[in-house]
Subunit: 276 residues, 2 copies
């Protein structure tokens, strides 16, 4: 049991992974299992006092790893883009109140304009939020998303693109999230992980698995070990850079959300120890 | 009408696009509409004399653009890989009999081994088939597939990877198919199209559109103009290299396969003239 708890100290679970649980239940269950971290999705904070919620998580010995999510900067109108920036400023305030060191960005993509335009609006949007992020000491973490989301969720689809953007933004308050689900296929991944870490931009590491077949483009992610991602190899690349952060389990799954969440949590912990 | 027919001379339609039609019906309808080319899927040849079918297509003034598809080289066992090579040798024979100048390869990916291993097996498999392809004067055309198919359909997921592989194979009988559905998201696409053409490897251009949302990972492709791909930009990049080949409409769509195929063909021609 001591060994098991040691292994779980770097495990972090996203509240959306156990979506049926309210954050209070999730926090108690994660804490009781000896899990070290929690990443909070903003919907889980609805109706709560954010500062008190953050304190409660820390009282349960949970480290608040990040707040998910900001982003969605591209829009076809200046008003739409300004609204997105305001939402990200709010997310920064929420992260500060919660005590989360970063906001993870799903960058966005606007059908009806080119990916190049969307990418420029993403970079401009992050730049517009950076002074506020610096003042709050909250990092803005770019998460490159799988190319199958290029049409409507993110025009940043490879780690190379995220590295380019983070280098251009050139701020200690910009980070990058490496999520195996989005990046596992990329033949350039090892090289880009090294580059990301050498730039001091590698700020989050998300894990799950890619099932074959995948039945739903959004909500059919697999538990570690259920799919075809060589998780240990990618984790090796990440840790070889000196990364000592959390391994964050982020699983959207209609299948698992229908199951009893305590049993699902047991499966997550077993899969983490065996396959991640 | 004369103008319309002129526009359709470089249009080619894949038999799978109008899957409910047997090839005889498809050929008559395409020919009557003034369409210049047809790409034949192997399932459409089941039970037919292949050589006679090829002659019949040419009698209808249809150019046989390619045979789809070979590939699926990776396998966990030597027997599995040898079986795949044999199937590709058969495909080359079928292409020769049909009078198709190339076999398009969906390269394959074997869950249970690394993508790097699958890629090596793809390259080795193509190399093993090349002497037969040269003897038959049939080109083996690598089609990089969207990264969402990396798990089980192709470990070649970018044009850069296809270019690398084609360069390594270094044969006049290796080509590459640029399909906008698979490649549109890639920020490196224009550069890699130039490289592909400069190497004399650009042998096919496939068109359709990416719908948002996409409801099915395999069979929910859109008609040109229905989605977010900037087709005219990509076509411009392709034609700027000097490419004068066909524009091949390859649409897998549960939606369109349920419709009356003559009406669907009208929609394809209108979409081609307006959006491609």
């Amino acid at each position: 049991m001591a060994e098991e708890r040691k292994n779980l100290k770097k495990l972090c679970i996203h509240t959306i992974t156990t979506k049926p649980w309210p954050i209070e239940t999730a926090a108690q269950e994660f804490s009781a299992a000896g899990i070290g971290g929690i990443t909070v999705w903003r919907d889980a904070l609805a109706g709560r006092n954010i500062r008190q919620t953050g304190n409660r998580l820390r009282d349960l010995n949970l480290e608040v790893v990040s707040l998910c999510r900001g982003g969605f900067f591209p829009a076809l109108t200046p008003e739409g883009r300004q609204k997105a920036i305001q939402d990200n400023l709010n997310a920064i305030d929420e992260a500060e109140a919660l005590g989360a060191p970063m906001v993870v960005l799903v960058c966005g993509s606007a059908p009806g304009q080119s990916l190049a335009d969307s990418r420029k609006q993403i970079q401009d949007g992050i730049a517009a939020c950076l002074p506020h992020a610096e003042a709050a000491n909250v990092k803005l973490t770019i998460e490159p998303l799988h190319p199958m989301y290029a049409g409507d969720r993110s025009a940043v689809n490879t780690l190379a693109q995220a590295n380019d953007m983070a280098e251009a933004l050139n701020s200690a308050h910009v980070g990058i999230a490496v999520d195996v689900y989005h990046l596992w296929w990329d033949p350039d991944l090892e090289t880009q992980i090294k580059r990301c870490a050498a730039n001091n931009h590698l700020s989050a590491f998300h894990i799950c698995d890619w099932k074959t077949p995948t039945l739903d483009m959004l909500n059919d992610r697999g538990l570690m070990g259920e799919g075809c991602i060589d998780l240990k190899q990618i984790r090796g690349w990440v840790e070889k850079t000196g990364f000592t952060g959390f391994h964050e389990v982020e699983i959207f799954s209609n299948l698992y959300w229908q199951q009893e969440q305590s049993q699902f949590l047991e499966k997550i912990m077993a899969a983490y120890q065996q396959h991640a």
